[in-house]
Protein backbone atom coordinates (compact mmCIF):
# COMPACT_ATOMS: atom_id res chain seq x y z
CA UNK A 1 0.00 0.00 0.00
CA UNK A 2 1.30 3.48 -0.78
CA UNK A 3 2.17 6.05 1.89
CA UNK A 4 -0.61 8.18 0.49
CA UNK A 5 -3.34 5.64 1.12
CA UNK A 6 -1.98 4.87 4.60
CA UNK A 7 -2.39 8.53 5.48
CA UNK A 8 -5.81 8.60 3.82
CA UNK A 9 -7.02 5.60 5.80
CA UNK A 10 -5.63 7.01 9.02
CA UNK A 11 -8.11 9.84 8.47
CA UNK A 12 -10.79 7.26 7.81
CA UNK A 13 -10.27 5.64 11.22
CA UNK A 14 -10.19 9.08 12.78
CA UNK A 15 -13.71 9.81 11.49
CA UNK A 16 -15.10 7.22 13.91
CA UNK A 17 -14.17 9.64 16.73
CA UNK A 18 -17.38 11.57 16.00
CA UNK A 19 -19.35 8.98 17.98
CA UNK A 20 -18.40 10.46 21.35
CA UNK A 21 -20.21 13.66 20.26
CA UNK A 22 -23.40 11.97 19.04
CA UNK A 23 -26.42 10.78 21.02
CA UNK A 24 -26.19 7.13 22.07
CA UNK A 25 -29.69 6.25 20.78
CA UNK A 26 -29.32 4.92 17.22
CA UNK A 27 -32.94 5.81 16.40
CA UNK A 28 -32.12 9.51 16.84
CA UNK A 29 -28.85 9.32 14.91
CA UNK A 30 -30.33 7.41 11.98
CA UNK A 31 -33.28 9.81 11.77
CA UNK A 32 -30.90 12.76 11.67
CA UNK A 33 -28.78 11.05 9.02
CA UNK A 34 -31.79 10.40 6.79
CA UNK A 35 -32.93 14.04 7.14
CA UNK A 36 -29.48 15.35 6.31
CA UNK A 37 -28.97 13.09 3.29
CA UNK A 38 -32.43 13.94 1.99
CA UNK A 39 -31.77 17.69 2.32
CA UNK A 40 -28.46 17.31 0.50
CA UNK A 41 -29.94 15.16 -2.27
CA UNK A 42 -27.69 12.24 -1.28
CA UNK A 43 -30.61 9.91 -0.68
CA UNK A 44 -34.21 9.62 -1.90
CA UNK A 45 -36.50 8.44 0.95
CA UNK A 46 -38.63 6.60 -1.63
CA UNK A 47 -35.58 4.49 -2.53
CA UNK A 48 -35.11 3.65 1.17
CA UNK A 49 -38.76 2.53 1.28
CA UNK A 50 -38.22 0.45 -1.85
CA UNK A 51 -35.21 -1.38 -0.35
CA UNK A 52 -37.17 -2.16 2.81
CA UNK A 53 -39.95 -3.51 0.60
CA UNK A 54 -37.44 -5.76 -1.22
CA UNK A 55 -36.40 -7.47 2.01
CA UNK A 56 -39.86 -7.50 3.56
CA UNK A 57 -41.69 -9.04 0.64
CA UNK A 58 -39.52 -10.05 -2.32
CA UNK A 59 -36.42 -11.76 -0.89
CA UNK A 60 -36.41 -14.20 1.98
CA UNK A 61 -35.87 -17.81 3.00
CA UNK A 62 -38.86 -18.91 0.90
CA UNK A 63 -36.58 -18.46 -2.13
CA UNK A 64 -34.03 -20.90 -0.72
CA UNK A 65 -36.80 -23.30 0.32
CA UNK A 66 -37.99 -23.48 -3.30
CA UNK A 67 -34.44 -24.33 -4.43
CA UNK A 68 -34.20 -27.10 -1.82
CA UNK A 69 -37.63 -28.59 -2.58
CA UNK A 70 -36.89 -28.63 -6.31
CA UNK A 71 -33.59 -30.42 -5.67
CA UNK A 72 -35.42 -33.01 -3.56
CA UNK A 73 -37.96 -33.88 -6.24
CA UNK A 74 -35.85 -33.42 -9.37
CA UNK A 75 -32.59 -35.43 -9.38
CA UNK A 76 -31.33 -33.71 -12.55
CA UNK A 77 -31.85 -30.29 -10.92
CA UNK A 78 -30.10 -31.48 -7.76
CA UNK A 79 -27.12 -32.54 -9.84
CA UNK A 80 -27.00 -29.15 -11.56
CA UNK A 81 -27.34 -27.38 -8.20
CA UNK A 82 -24.42 -29.26 -6.66
CA UNK A 83 -22.17 -28.91 -9.70
CA UNK A 84 -22.92 -25.21 -10.40
CA UNK A 85 -25.06 -23.58 -7.72
CA UNK A 86 -24.97 -20.15 -9.34
CA UNK A 87 -26.34 -21.44 -12.63
CA UNK A 88 -29.00 -23.68 -11.06
CA UNK A 89 -30.25 -20.93 -8.72
CA UNK A 90 -30.24 -18.58 -11.70
CA UNK A 91 -32.73 -20.94 -13.39
CA UNK A 92 -35.20 -19.93 -10.64
CA UNK A 93 -34.19 -16.26 -10.96
CA UNK A 94 -32.97 -16.03 -7.35
CA UNK A 95 -29.55 -14.49 -8.01
CA UNK A 96 -28.89 -10.94 -6.78
CA UNK A 97 -26.75 -8.78 -4.51
CA UNK A 98 -25.03 -10.88 -1.84
CA UNK A 99 -25.87 -13.97 -3.81
CA UNK A 100 -24.51 -13.73 -7.35
CA UNK A 101 -21.99 -16.55 -6.78
CA UNK A 102 -23.47 -19.48 -4.88
CA UNK A 103 -22.17 -22.92 -3.95
CA UNK A 104 -24.72 -25.43 -2.67
CA UNK A 105 -23.37 -28.00 -0.20
CA UNK A 106 -25.29 -31.19 0.54
CA UNK A 107 -25.95 -32.72 3.94
CA UNK A 108 -25.72 -36.51 3.81
CA UNK A 109 -25.76 -39.25 6.46
CA UNK A 110 -21.97 -38.76 6.74
CA UNK A 111 -21.45 -35.01 6.24
CA UNK A 112 -23.10 -32.01 7.89
CA UNK A 113 -22.42 -28.50 6.56
CA UNK A 114 -22.49 -25.28 8.59
CA UNK A 115 -22.10 -21.75 7.20
CA UNK A 116 -20.52 -18.76 8.97
CA UNK A 117 -18.68 -15.53 8.20
CA UNK A 118 -16.03 -14.95 10.87
CA UNK A 119 -14.80 -11.61 9.43
CA UNK A 120 -18.13 -9.82 8.98
CA UNK A 121 -21.55 -11.35 8.32
CA UNK A 122 -21.57 -12.52 4.69
CA UNK A 123 -24.76 -14.47 4.00
CA UNK A 124 -26.60 -15.65 0.87
CA UNK A 125 -29.13 -12.80 0.97
CA UNK A 126 -30.57 -13.42 -2.47
CA UNK A 127 -31.81 -16.88 -1.43
CA UNK A 128 -32.26 -16.50 2.35
CA UNK A 129 -33.07 -12.80 2.85
CA UNK A 130 -31.60 -10.85 5.75
CA UNK A 131 -29.46 -12.82 8.20
CA UNK A 132 -30.82 -13.46 11.69
CA UNK A 133 -29.28 -11.45 14.55
CA UNK A 134 -27.47 -14.45 16.03
CA UNK A 135 -25.67 -15.09 12.69
CA UNK A 136 -24.13 -11.60 12.94
CA UNK A 137 -23.25 -11.93 16.62
CA UNK A 138 -19.78 -12.36 18.13
CA UNK A 139 -20.64 -15.68 19.84
CA UNK A 140 -21.60 -17.34 16.53
CA UNK A 141 -18.83 -15.77 14.44
CA UNK A 142 -16.14 -16.66 16.97
CA UNK A 143 -17.17 -20.20 17.85
CA UNK A 144 -18.59 -21.77 14.67
CA UNK A 145 -15.08 -22.52 13.35
CA UNK A 146 -13.51 -23.78 16.59
CA UNK A 147 -16.47 -25.49 18.30
CA UNK A 148 -19.14 -26.25 15.70
CA UNK A 149 -20.53 -29.18 17.72
CA UNK A 150 -20.93 -26.95 20.78
CA UNK A 151 -22.65 -24.28 18.69
CA UNK A 152 -25.03 -26.82 17.13
CA UNK A 153 -26.00 -28.09 20.60
CA UNK A 154 -27.18 -24.57 21.41
CA UNK A 155 -29.58 -24.94 18.48
CA UNK A 156 -30.71 -28.30 19.85
CA UNK A 157 -28.80 -30.27 17.24
CA UNK A 158 -26.52 -33.03 18.49
CA UNK A 159 -24.68 -34.89 15.74
CA UNK A 160 -23.20 -38.38 16.13
CA UNK A 161 -19.38 -38.57 16.26
CA UNK A 162 -19.18 -40.40 12.92
CA UNK A 163 -20.74 -37.46 11.06
CA UNK A 164 -18.11 -35.14 9.61
CA UNK A 165 -18.85 -31.47 10.14
CA UNK A 166 -17.70 -29.16 7.38
CA UNK A 167 -17.78 -25.48 8.33
CA UNK A 168 -17.80 -22.95 5.46
CA UNK A 169 -16.27 -19.60 6.42
CA UNK A 170 -17.54 -17.11 3.79
CA UNK A 171 -14.44 -14.94 3.47
CA UNK A 172 -15.02 -14.02 -0.21
CA UNK A 173 -18.05 -13.10 -2.37
CA UNK A 174 -19.00 -16.75 -2.77
CA UNK A 175 -22.11 -17.56 -0.76
CA UNK A 176 -22.91 -21.01 0.64
CA UNK A 177 -26.36 -22.59 0.76
CA UNK A 178 -26.83 -25.85 2.66
CA UNK A 179 -28.98 -28.45 0.93
CA UNK A 180 -30.50 -30.20 3.95
CA UNK A 181 -31.49 -33.86 3.96
CA UNK A 182 -35.06 -34.63 2.89
CA UNK A 183 -36.88 -35.97 5.93
CA UNK A 184 -38.32 -39.47 6.02
CA UNK A 185 -42.09 -39.68 5.65
CA UNK A 186 -42.31 -37.09 2.89
CA UNK A 187 -42.42 -39.51 -0.03
CA UNK A 188 -45.05 -38.42 -2.53
CA UNK A 189 -45.33 -34.90 -1.10
CA UNK A 190 -45.62 -32.12 -3.68
CA UNK A 191 -42.74 -29.72 -4.27
CA UNK A 192 -44.85 -26.94 -2.78
CA UNK A 193 -45.60 -28.86 0.42
CA UNK A 194 -41.95 -29.83 0.74
CA UNK A 195 -40.87 -26.21 0.37
CA UNK A 196 -43.15 -25.29 3.28
CA UNK A 197 -41.22 -27.71 5.50
CA UNK A 198 -37.79 -26.22 4.76
CA UNK A 199 -36.55 -23.91 7.51
CA UNK A 200 -34.07 -21.07 7.16
CA UNK A 201 -31.95 -22.61 9.91
CA UNK A 202 -31.62 -25.86 7.94
CA UNK A 203 -30.20 -23.93 4.97
CA UNK A 204 -27.54 -22.32 7.22
CA UNK A 205 -26.79 -25.73 8.74
CA UNK A 206 -27.93 -25.10 12.32
CA UNK A 207 -31.07 -27.20 11.98
CA UNK A 208 -32.56 -30.20 10.21
CA UNK A 209 -35.81 -30.38 8.29
CA UNK A 210 -38.52 -32.45 9.90
CA UNK A 211 -41.60 -33.89 8.20
CA UNK A 212 -43.99 -31.83 10.32
Amino acid sequence: MSQHSHAHDHDLAHHHDIHSELPPDPALRVKALESLLTEKGLVDPAAIDAWIEVYESKIGPRNGAKVVAKAWVDPAYKQRLLSDGTKAIGELDFLGRQGQHIVAVENTPDVHNLVVCTLCSCYPLSVLGLPPAWYKSAPYRSRAVIDPRGVLKEFGLELPEHVKIRVWDSTAEVRYLVLPARPAGTEGMSEERLAALVTRDSMIGVGKVSAR
Binding site: M1, S5, H6, D9, D11, H15, H16, I18, H19, E21, P26, A27, K31, A32, L33, S35, L36, L37, E39, K40, G41, L42, V43, D44, A47, D49, A50, W51, I52, V54, Y55, K58, L95, G96, R97, H101, V103, P132, A133, W134, K136, A138, P139, Y140, S142, V145, I146, P148, E154, K164, I165, R166, V167, D169, S170, A172, E173, V174, D201, V206
Partner: protein, 221 residues
Protein backbone atom coordinates in the same frame (compact mmCIF):
# COMPACT_ATOMS: atom_id res chain seq x y z
CA UNK B 1 -5.50 -5.63 9.71
CA UNK B 2 -5.41 -7.71 12.87
CA UNK B 3 -8.63 -6.20 14.21
CA UNK B 4 -11.38 -7.16 16.61
CA UNK B 5 -13.54 -8.09 13.58
CA UNK B 6 -11.36 -11.16 12.94
CA UNK B 7 -13.29 -13.31 15.40
CA UNK B 8 -12.75 -16.90 14.27
CA UNK B 9 -11.59 -19.01 17.23
CA UNK B 10 -12.01 -16.39 19.95
CA UNK B 11 -13.33 -17.39 23.35
CA UNK B 12 -15.33 -15.39 25.84
CA UNK B 13 -18.24 -14.06 23.78
CA UNK B 14 -20.73 -16.38 25.46
CA UNK B 15 -23.43 -18.70 24.07
CA UNK B 16 -25.15 -18.04 20.73
CA UNK B 17 -28.66 -17.75 22.22
CA UNK B 18 -30.60 -17.95 18.94
CA UNK B 19 -34.12 -16.62 18.62
CA UNK B 20 -36.64 -19.09 17.21
CA UNK B 21 -36.81 -18.39 13.48
CA UNK B 22 -40.62 -18.58 13.53
CA UNK B 23 -40.79 -15.64 15.91
CA UNK B 24 -37.71 -13.58 15.12
CA UNK B 25 -38.75 -10.22 13.62
CA UNK B 26 -37.04 -9.03 10.43
CA UNK B 27 -36.12 -5.79 12.24
CA UNK B 28 -35.65 -5.35 15.97
CA UNK B 29 -36.44 -1.61 15.70
CA UNK B 30 -37.79 0.60 12.87
CA UNK B 31 -34.48 2.49 12.57
CA UNK B 32 -32.75 -0.72 11.48
CA UNK B 33 -34.90 -0.84 8.35
CA UNK B 34 -34.20 2.85 7.59
CA UNK B 35 -30.46 2.26 8.07
CA UNK B 36 -30.50 -0.68 5.69
CA UNK B 37 -32.30 1.43 3.09
CA UNK B 38 -29.88 4.34 3.55
CA UNK B 39 -26.87 2.04 3.21
CA UNK B 40 -28.22 0.47 0.03
CA UNK B 41 -29.29 3.68 -1.68
CA UNK B 42 -27.18 6.63 -0.53
CA UNK B 43 -24.61 8.36 -2.71
CA UNK B 44 -21.05 7.36 -1.73
CA UNK B 45 -17.74 9.05 -2.50
CA UNK B 46 -16.26 8.22 -5.90
CA UNK B 47 -14.56 4.82 -6.04
CA UNK B 48 -16.44 3.49 -3.02
CA UNK B 49 -17.07 -0.27 -2.99
CA UNK B 50 -18.12 -3.12 -0.69
CA UNK B 51 -14.55 -3.94 0.33
CA UNK B 52 -14.05 -0.35 1.40
CA UNK B 53 -17.32 -0.58 3.34
CA UNK B 54 -16.02 -3.66 5.19
CA UNK B 55 -12.67 -2.02 5.86
CA UNK B 56 -14.24 1.11 7.36
CA UNK B 57 -16.32 -1.17 9.59
CA UNK B 58 -13.11 -2.88 10.74
CA UNK B 59 -11.64 0.51 11.58
CA UNK B 60 -14.31 1.14 14.22
CA UNK B 61 -12.68 1.43 17.65
CA UNK B 62 -12.86 -2.06 19.23
CA UNK B 63 -15.04 -0.96 22.14
CA UNK B 64 -17.64 0.44 19.72
CA UNK B 65 -17.39 -2.57 17.41
CA UNK B 66 -18.20 -4.93 20.29
CA UNK B 67 -20.84 -2.77 21.97
CA UNK B 68 -22.92 -1.62 19.00
CA UNK B 69 -25.42 -3.68 17.04
CA UNK B 70 -25.08 -4.67 13.41
CA UNK B 71 -27.05 -1.90 11.70
CA UNK B 72 -25.41 0.61 14.03
CA UNK B 73 -22.10 -0.53 12.52
CA UNK B 74 -23.59 0.39 9.15
CA UNK B 75 -24.42 3.83 10.54
CA UNK B 76 -20.81 4.25 11.64
CA UNK B 77 -19.52 3.19 8.21
CA UNK B 78 -21.85 5.50 6.28
CA UNK B 79 -20.96 8.48 8.49
CA UNK B 80 -17.20 7.83 8.21
CA UNK B 81 -17.53 7.43 4.42
CA UNK B 82 -19.47 10.72 4.11
CA UNK B 83 -16.94 12.62 6.24
CA UNK B 84 -13.94 11.07 4.52
CA UNK B 85 -15.36 11.73 1.06
CA UNK B 86 -16.24 15.34 1.87
CA UNK B 87 -19.95 14.70 1.25
CA UNK B 88 -20.95 15.93 4.73
CA UNK B 89 -19.35 17.76 7.63
CA UNK B 90 -19.22 16.80 11.27
CA UNK B 91 -21.58 19.66 12.13
CA UNK B 92 -24.08 18.45 9.54
CA UNK B 93 -23.99 14.89 10.91
CA UNK B 94 -24.53 16.23 14.42
CA UNK B 95 -27.37 18.60 13.50
CA UNK B 96 -29.10 16.43 10.91
CA UNK B 97 -29.36 19.44 8.60
CA UNK B 98 -27.41 20.69 5.61
CA UNK B 99 -25.20 23.72 6.23
CA UNK B 100 -26.77 26.97 5.03
CA UNK B 101 -26.00 27.59 1.38
CA UNK B 102 -24.64 24.07 0.68
CA UNK B 103 -25.40 22.69 -2.76
CA UNK B 104 -28.13 20.11 -3.25
CA UNK B 105 -27.42 17.20 -5.59
CA UNK B 106 -30.01 15.64 -7.86
CA UNK B 107 -28.41 12.29 -8.65
CA UNK B 108 -29.53 10.09 -5.71
CA UNK B 109 -30.62 6.54 -6.56
CA UNK B 110 -34.36 6.42 -7.27
CA UNK B 111 -36.94 3.91 -6.08
CA UNK B 112 -37.47 2.64 -9.63
CA UNK B 113 -33.78 1.67 -9.83
CA UNK B 114 -33.83 -0.49 -6.70
CA UNK B 115 -34.88 -3.82 -8.19
CA UNK B 116 -32.42 -3.52 -11.08
CA UNK B 117 -29.70 -2.77 -8.55
CA UNK B 118 -30.71 -5.83 -6.55
CA UNK B 119 -30.59 -8.11 -9.59
CA UNK B 120 -27.50 -6.78 -11.39
CA UNK B 121 -25.02 -5.55 -8.77
CA UNK B 122 -22.59 -7.62 -6.76
CA UNK B 123 -20.89 -9.66 -9.48
CA UNK B 124 -17.23 -10.10 -8.50
CA UNK B 125 -15.93 -12.66 -10.98
CA UNK B 126 -13.27 -11.27 -13.33
CA UNK B 127 -10.97 -12.59 -16.05
CA UNK B 128 -7.44 -13.32 -14.86
CA UNK B 129 -4.76 -13.59 -17.55
CA UNK B 130 -2.45 -15.96 -15.66
CA UNK B 131 -3.29 -19.67 -15.24
CA UNK B 132 -4.21 -20.84 -11.72
CA UNK B 133 -1.15 -21.67 -9.63
CA UNK B 134 -2.97 -24.35 -7.61
CA UNK B 135 -5.20 -27.30 -8.50
CA UNK B 136 -8.00 -28.97 -6.56
CA UNK B 137 -6.61 -31.65 -4.28
CA UNK B 138 -3.30 -29.82 -3.87
CA UNK B 139 -1.86 -29.11 -0.41
CA UNK B 140 -1.29 -25.42 0.22
CA UNK B 141 -0.19 -23.30 3.14
CA UNK B 142 -1.90 -20.03 4.04
CA UNK B 143 0.88 -17.49 4.23
CA UNK B 144 1.78 -15.94 7.57
CA UNK B 145 1.26 -12.30 6.64
CA UNK B 146 -0.07 -9.46 8.76
CA UNK B 147 -1.12 -6.61 6.47
CA UNK B 148 -2.07 -3.39 8.27
CA UNK B 149 -4.70 -2.65 5.58
CA UNK B 150 -7.77 -4.69 4.61
CA UNK B 151 -7.42 -8.43 4.12
CA UNK B 152 -9.76 -11.40 3.98
CA UNK B 153 -7.15 -13.85 5.26
CA UNK B 154 -8.33 -14.67 8.79
CA UNK B 155 -5.67 -14.96 11.49
CA UNK B 156 -6.75 -18.47 12.46
CA UNK B 157 -5.60 -20.02 9.15
CA UNK B 158 -2.29 -18.17 8.75
CA UNK B 159 0.62 -20.60 8.58
CA UNK B 160 -1.77 -23.59 8.40
CA UNK B 161 -1.79 -26.28 5.71
CA UNK B 162 -4.97 -27.26 3.90
CA UNK B 163 -6.20 -28.86 0.69
CA UNK B 164 -7.71 -26.99 -2.26
CA UNK B 165 -11.37 -28.04 -2.64
CA UNK B 166 -12.69 -25.64 -5.27
CA UNK B 167 -11.15 -23.25 -7.79
CA UNK B 168 -13.61 -20.38 -8.33
CA UNK B 169 -11.77 -18.61 -11.15
CA UNK B 170 -10.81 -14.94 -10.94
CA UNK B 171 -12.38 -12.68 -8.30
CA UNK B 172 -11.87 -9.02 -7.34
CA UNK B 173 -9.05 -8.79 -4.74
CA UNK B 174 -10.40 -7.07 -1.60
CA UNK B 175 -6.97 -6.11 -0.25
CA UNK B 176 -6.46 -3.57 -3.05
CA UNK B 177 -10.10 -2.77 -3.82
CA UNK B 178 -10.78 -1.69 -0.21
CA UNK B 179 -8.13 1.01 -0.58
CA UNK B 180 -9.44 2.13 -4.00
CA UNK B 181 -6.26 0.78 -5.58
CA UNK B 182 -8.01 -1.26 -8.24
CA UNK B 183 -9.75 -4.62 -8.47
CA UNK B 184 -6.48 -6.50 -9.26
CA UNK B 185 -8.38 -9.81 -9.66
CA UNK B 186 -6.76 -13.07 -8.60
CA UNK B 187 -7.69 -16.73 -8.67
CA UNK B 188 -9.86 -17.63 -5.69
CA UNK B 189 -9.85 -21.05 -4.02
CA UNK B 190 -11.77 -22.80 -1.27
CA UNK B 191 -9.23 -24.48 1.00
CA UNK B 192 -10.22 -27.14 3.57
CA UNK B 193 -8.29 -27.20 6.85
CA UNK B 194 -8.66 -30.04 9.35
CA UNK B 195 -9.73 -28.97 12.83
CA UNK B 196 -6.56 -30.68 14.15
CA UNK B 197 -4.40 -28.51 11.90
CA UNK B 198 -6.22 -25.36 13.02
CA UNK B 199 -6.74 -26.04 16.71
CA UNK B 200 -4.34 -28.79 17.75
CA UNK B 201 -4.45 -32.35 19.00
CA UNK B 202 -7.54 -31.93 21.17
CA UNK B 203 -9.70 -30.90 18.20
CA UNK B 204 -11.93 -33.27 16.19
CA UNK B 205 -10.04 -35.63 13.90
CA UNK B 206 -12.97 -35.67 11.49
CA UNK B 207 -14.29 -32.13 11.20
CA UNK B 208 -12.89 -29.42 8.94
CA UNK B 209 -13.29 -25.75 8.08
CA UNK B 210 -13.30 -24.49 4.49
CA UNK B 211 -12.12 -20.93 3.82
CA UNK B 212 -12.15 -18.92 0.58
CA UNK B 213 -8.63 -17.65 -0.08
CA UNK B 214 -7.07 -15.63 -2.90
CA UNK B 215 -3.98 -16.93 -4.67
CA UNK B 216 -1.54 -14.45 -3.10
CA UNK B 217 -2.60 -15.67 0.37
CA UNK B 218 -1.29 -19.15 -0.48
CA UNK B 219 1.97 -20.98 -1.10
CA UNK B 220 2.62 -24.62 -2.07
CA UNK B 221 2.97 -26.97 0.91
Amino acid sequence: MNGVHDMGGMHGHGPVAPEDEKHEPLWHAPWEARMLGITRSMTYPKGFNIDRFRHIRELMPPHLYLARSYYDHWYAVCVAALLNGGLATKEEIKSGHAAAGSAKRNDAARADQVWTSQKTQGIFTREVATPPQFATGQRVRARNINPTGHTRLPRYVRGKVGVVQIHHGGHVFPDTNAHVQGEAPQHLYTVAFSMRELWGADASARDETCVDLWESYLEPA
